[in-house]
């Protein structure tokens, strides 16, 4: 970047959604901060090569994802859940129930998903990127994005419902105070 002000304005515009994306991937606040910071450090070195400025957002998300994948290459991945088996078990999450959710619960439920579903879903809900941009960031065909979103939402509802039932059960089992 040639001017600090231009760089600063790019940081200001993108660091929050990038951090939230990083948090859904890394499952740890400090790691999410590091990933976000590393992404901008790479951008400071290589960003001048992006001629089409409208591509900066996608470039940042892609770089963050690659950094994450590079670091966790040796970790064991979550096993794929056979979505066909859960498709017909879609739990009912009403708009009212969704509105009462805690942000931390939503992030926790997202983090339970296999990253193949977690990445497009997080980008979908962050709303900062189009389907086409999601496809570019994840380096997968747009049809795959649609399919993973559809299936991922089913899995997310299941995870949210599980966490809601667990919270209810904890409430019921709590000893009554005098």
């Amino acid at each position: 970047m040639d001017t600090p002000t231009e760089f600063e304005s790019i940081v200001t515009a993108h660091y929050e959604p990038l951090y939230r994306f990083a948090l859904s991937l890394a499952k740890c606040q400090s790691r999410a901060c590091d990933l976000t910071q590393e992404t901008f450090l790479i951008f400071a070195q290589k960003g001048a090569g992006i001629r089409d400025r409208s591509k900066i957002k996608s470039w940042l998300f892609t770089t963050l994802r690659r950094e994450f994948l590079g670091e966790r290459r040796h970790e064991t991945r979550f096993p794929h859940e056979e979505v066909g088996e859960v498709e017909h078990e879609l739990p009912t999450l009403t708009p009212d129930m969704a509105a009462q959710l805690d942000a931390a619960d939503l992030v926790a439920s997202l983090q339970e998903l296999d990253e193949d579903f977690r990445m497009p879903l997080t980008l979908f809900y962050l709303e900062d990127v189009s389907y086409r941009e999601i496809a570019e960031i994840l380096e997968i065909p747009i049809g795959t994005v649609m399919s993973r979103l559809s299936r991922g939402k089913t899995l997310l509802r299941k995870s949210l419902e599980k966490s809601r039932l667990k919270a209810q059960s904890n409430l019921q089992n709590r000893p009554l105070s005098a």
């Binding site: 760089f7 600063e8 940081v11 200001t12 660091y15 929050e16 951090y19 939230r20 948090l23 606040q29 901060c33 976000t36 910071q37 901008f40 450090l41 400071a44 070195q45 290589k46 960003g47 001048a48 090569g49 992006i50 001629r51 089409d52 591509k55 996608s58 470039w59 892609t62 770089t63 999450l93 009403t94 708009p95 969704a98 509105a99 959710l101 805690d102 942000a103 931390a104 939503l106 992030v107 997202l110 997080t122 979908f124 809900y125 962050l126 709303e127 189009s130 389907y131 086409r132 570019e136 960031i137 380096e139 747009i142 994005v145 649609m146 399919s147 979103l149 559809s150 939402k153 089913t154």
Partner: protein, 255 residues
Amino acid sequence: MTRDQSRHLLKAYRENGGEAEHFAQALAAAQNDPELKQWLDDELQTDAALRVRLRAVPVPADLRQKILAAVQKQSATPGIIPFYRHPVVLSMAACLMVALGLALYYKSHVRPAVDQAVARLRFNDFTHDAFAFVQSDWSLQYEGGDQEKVREWLRAHHAPADYIKPGGLEKLQGLGCRTLDWKGQKVSVICFLVSPGKEVHLLVINRDVFGDSPPAGRTFFASAGKWSRVAWTDENKAYLMAGDVPLEEIKKLLE
């Protein structure tokens, strides 16, 4: 399309996500099916609520400052220089400017001998200079992904426009083009996006300017650092395709 198929498609639907055609049929079905319509309304409301929740995830208050401080520290660290300010890149750009200057001088002052000079142009020199050019700091003169408009622009600027693109480039997003004067000859430079931040460039020149052009169908690969190139000719044109991508990726683009 059945109700279940529509529902499966619409689960991925977001009003401002684009790709309207993908959802058009399922959305139309929802308009004629009250049960599906009710389900879609609930789905969109639930998504909206989840979106609000996700966007409410707090971001550490000092993160922005930490990022800016880290970048400032990095740029103050000796030895870490942005690639475009690297001495090698700068010296390559300077050499290119000298070469272009000489070419322009040659064109304007030695015009009577141009036919003989053209006959001495070497294909290897073109690939070498063109490869150095794409690695230097330059910009597009025409921006846009419509390949027909790119050809029109190049034609209007007297640069080769009837080139044949390798199959792999057909799948990539076009960024635009520019022309380049190389030893008095017009070169078309057409750019494509391989992935965010990574581009590949196709340079095209008329084949008959060379005294030594190789037979059509042969390909010549080379790489330097992170950059790779491939050069070839067909009956009418000579081509160089180059980008900051691995050689294997360049080879795939030829398919």
